[in-house]
Symmetry: C2
Subunit: 344 residues, 2 copies
């Protein structure tokens, strides 16, 4: 039986449940508007380890363990851990997977990784291939700066379009129909999603990711609405991650060109995680941004009944430091999950 | 209905079909024992483009297009392209996906990427989420050398345990029950698989990948046999990719410790692609090695009836240049697909 609807979207008849989450963030994220929502705010973003990369991996591992501890489970109880991050060869996830010792499926969609993981894990759950799985994603300001931009020691100033990579890791546990164990969330299900196409509007400025990613977000959100035959009001909220303030304006314009006005229901995880007085220019970014905002805040809004149905549309820029040096423009992709509040 | 069998394995009741494949390789691979099997052997491994990275991406895009052209399809006809490669932020795949303009799911498992992609795509197909999908993976000797080792211009000598990264890209088209179009292969189905755990035996020598990856291959192969309740003879052949000659010896020993003698049915894609007189030390490696050997040779052996059932166990080393410089050991993962010959 086909569960496809339209060209890029699908439905999940069994509605896999998001039953738990875990979030770890750095101190600056902890000082932001969502500070009290995160499970753990680190005082030392190295966690006392030898490198920021090791610290990022440990955060991701810890977010996964925490999401499982909340429901009385251990890494050995899951069918697989699906993870990804911004570091070359996704080492934060690979090394976290080594410590967790669960079966591991590595995914990469830059800052869309969390949504990609949730889509794939939900489909695998609906298909009967998983009873309990965890998806996670991470980023770290200091590991990203030296991966993508400049050594921190240079003290480079940010241009006005720049976003700040979030130090954080988020993880969600996804359960199938056969799951009968403890739950931390009782009311949250993934009911469908849209797999994104890669869009490239020719932006070459790696400090203007919002503009590079907005076309991908618009493409996926419009495809989702079109495939479902729905208007934006079908959703209580559309969350993007992470266009920042510049990119969000561009998103409204592009969606408007397709006849969809989403400005009234749109929130951007990159704009939610920091306040304007935190001097982060255009907001947060990185795999860990929407992963932690989803894990700590969006899911809470669904569980509490504040939202009944949302679209979680994470967006990633598929550049590398090398592709930028070689003069390539920045392709981007966005994946979107339809997440609903359901009865117990 | 759960399709899980044992702790890490699963079955695919609808047996998704591999209906086509495409392979592009470099000239050295073309001079090897499988030279005549590949669809295209490049004379110029830059394809006349400005960089090896761009050339790698073009090869991958071309392998996908070719696998579709053989069955009269275009990239717009597929539900998604699932791809990955060794470059930072998997840019070969991301840029290929931009050109293909199909929905894109990026995966990363180092040299196990092709098997990971086939496992996920087959599960999504069995689950009703795809009617036609393409999985691909690529690597390029020259882009990998500068990504992981030394600039080619240095003329560094290879140590005796080294393998040579294959210049090549392979792609397979996977169809679901509802697919009624043309086929290039009629007899090949994916009937199950095993998702690997990350293993780390503390190897730190990035020129001895075979030793780092053999424990992961042994772990997954033994898990598969145990989950299926089968002996090695259940398979006509077990193909690993890419342990090389040193790593293969270690694999036999580790499987033997678990009571499984696989030496009589084992083949390693890294040993198949080059002959000993090609001076490649321990054989081929890279995402493109097992991807092209599968696409061009293993599938042919199944289609022709030479094999009735094989295990395709690709193995990846989850290191990065940075993790090695930071003194980390090399974790590895192996994913295995059960591929069978079936009636039309």
């Amino acid at each position: 039986m086909s569960k496809k609807t339209g060209k890029q979207s699908f439905v999940l008849p069994s509605k896999p449940r998001i039953i738990s989450s875990g979030s770890f963030v750095g101190s600056k994220e902890g000082e932001g508007p969502l500070g009290k929502r995160f499970d753990t705010v680190l005082k030392d973003d190295t966690l006392g380890l030898d490198s920021w990369e090791e610290a990022e991996s440990r955060m991701l591992e810890s977010a996964v363990r925490l999401s499982l501890a909340k429901i009385g489970k251990k890494p050995d109880d899951i069918d697989f851990f699906m993870g990804g991050d911004l570091l070359s060869q996704i080492i934060a996830s690979g090394f976290a997977a080594r410590e967790l010792a669960s079966p591991f499926l590595g995914v990469y969609g830059a800052c869309s990784t969390m949504a990609e993981g949730i889509l794939i894990a939900s489909m695998l759950t609906d298909g009967g291939f998983s009873n309990l799985a965890v998806c996670g994603a991470s980023s770290h300001f200091s590991s990203s700066e030296r991966e993508f931009r400049y050594p921190l020691e240079m003290g480079t100033q940010s241009p006005p379009t720049a976003q700040r990579t979030v130090t954080g890791a988020g993880a969600v546990a996804i359960a199938g129909e056969g799951y009968a164990g403890e739950k931390s969330f009782y009311h949250i299900a993934v009911s469908g999603g849209t797999v994104g196409r890669v869009c490239d509007y020719g932006i070459t400025d790696a400090s203007d990711m919002g503009a590079a990613m907005a076309p991908a977000a618009a493409s996926t959100i419009c495809a989702c609405l079109s495939d479902l035959g729905a208007e934006p009001a079908y959703f209580d909220a559309i969350y993007t991650g992470d266009l920042g303030s510049f990119g969000s304006e561009l998103l409204f314009e592009l969606c408007g060109n397709n006849g969809y006005d989403i400005s009234g229901i749109h929130h951007d995880c990159g704009c939610m995680i920091f306040s304007k007085d935190q001097k982060v220019v255009c907001g947060g970014s990185g795999c860990g941004c929407c992963a932690t905002v989803l894990s700590a805040e969006i899911l809470r809004r669904l569980e509490s009944g504040e939202h009944n149905r949302i679209l979680f549309a994470a967006t990633g820029a598929l550049l590398s430091p090398l592709s930028s040096l070689q003069g390539e423009s920045i392709p981007a992709v966005s994946h979107a999950a339809v997440i609903e509040r359901i009865g117990i």
